[in-house]
Subunit: 205 residues, 2 copies
Amino acid sequence: MAPQGRPSVVPDDGLTTRQRRNRPLLAVHTGDGKGKSTAAFGLALRGWNQGWRIGVFQFVKSAKWRIGEQTVLERLGELHQQTGEGGPVEWHKMGSGWSWSRRGGTEEDHAADAAEGWAEVKRRLAAEAHDLYVLDEFTYPMQWGWVDVDDVVETLATRPGRQHVVVTGRRADPRLIEAADLVTEMTKLKHPMDAGQKGQRGIEW
Amino acid sequence: MAPQGRPSVVPDDGLTTRQRRNRPLLAVHTGDGKGKSTAAFGLALRGWNQGWRIGVFQFVKSAKWRIGEQTVLERLGELHQQTGEGGPVEWHKMGSGWSWSRRGGTEEDHAADAAEGWAEVKRRLAAEAHDLYVLDEFTYPMQWGWVDVDDVVETLATRPGRQHVVVTGRRADPRLIEAADLVTEMTKLKHPMDAGQKGQRGIEW
């Protein structure tokens, strides 16, 4: 986490250190352990502090529950509007239909919802709408064929400007791993549910 | 992350599900990958939103740099004071002497600083001063013998009330792992420094 790290290899890519340093990152948080989303929202917190325009897209089927991070990051987005601190925040979740969609919230076509979410993210990437995109649990629609993995990888690999993207979820596709700059696997060594403890407020959501 | 998880085993510990559910957690984020601290600060964000009293203790030798999370969490602590939203936040870092210490900032006795930090955390645990403690990079003073591991484990295992504790850092001591309820290992699968990219603002700090 400290900025004193030294590159172990200097690549022959024709870029200066500065160009390389400022290259936008595609990060993937995967594995069966906890902290994948939490660490992504932590990056959003850090980006907000830099004045970045934050866009969170939660590709979860059931988003009736609202996690604390959404409340706090949206509050920080308001703070930006009121005082100019930090950056603007948009938080969208699939649930039963995205907030920008005209379609009602009663249908249950999660595949169509996921495809629509990805289409919107593509439009925003083309428009350079955000500085950091959190595509939370986006590995699942990729895995289930609800979005085309090659299209996702091609779009992310060729995105314009300086847009950082973090994708979270288990079982990340090897093509996504290959395209990513930074991949972290969260592995569960020990979990309280193994000892019969259920999730609790403040820790799990 | 969703709260719908079912325990895989019901333990024979004489506790009701509710008692077990509300048991304070000792979590450890370890491994060589990224996201250990970021996920811990994400938990602090979530806890703040629950109105928890947050205490962050960064056991890092050089804390000249200030990470974005500190700025944002301290800002949230101010917001709590102004509006009553969320909870209070204290953020302390070792650097060259803790903020509560009367000793000057010129000396270089990191071992003494670390021991002093732990002594303060012990006092606060006894006083039930915080609802969530982030002991960031605390595995290092444990590893280097600056604090007594058995004392740490015994203190954490017998802490009173409902105080959650998250310890981060590489090479967590097996005794700490044993005492913990939740242990996540962050493993680096791929890192931009491997490709000669240096850390960058907003991503690394």
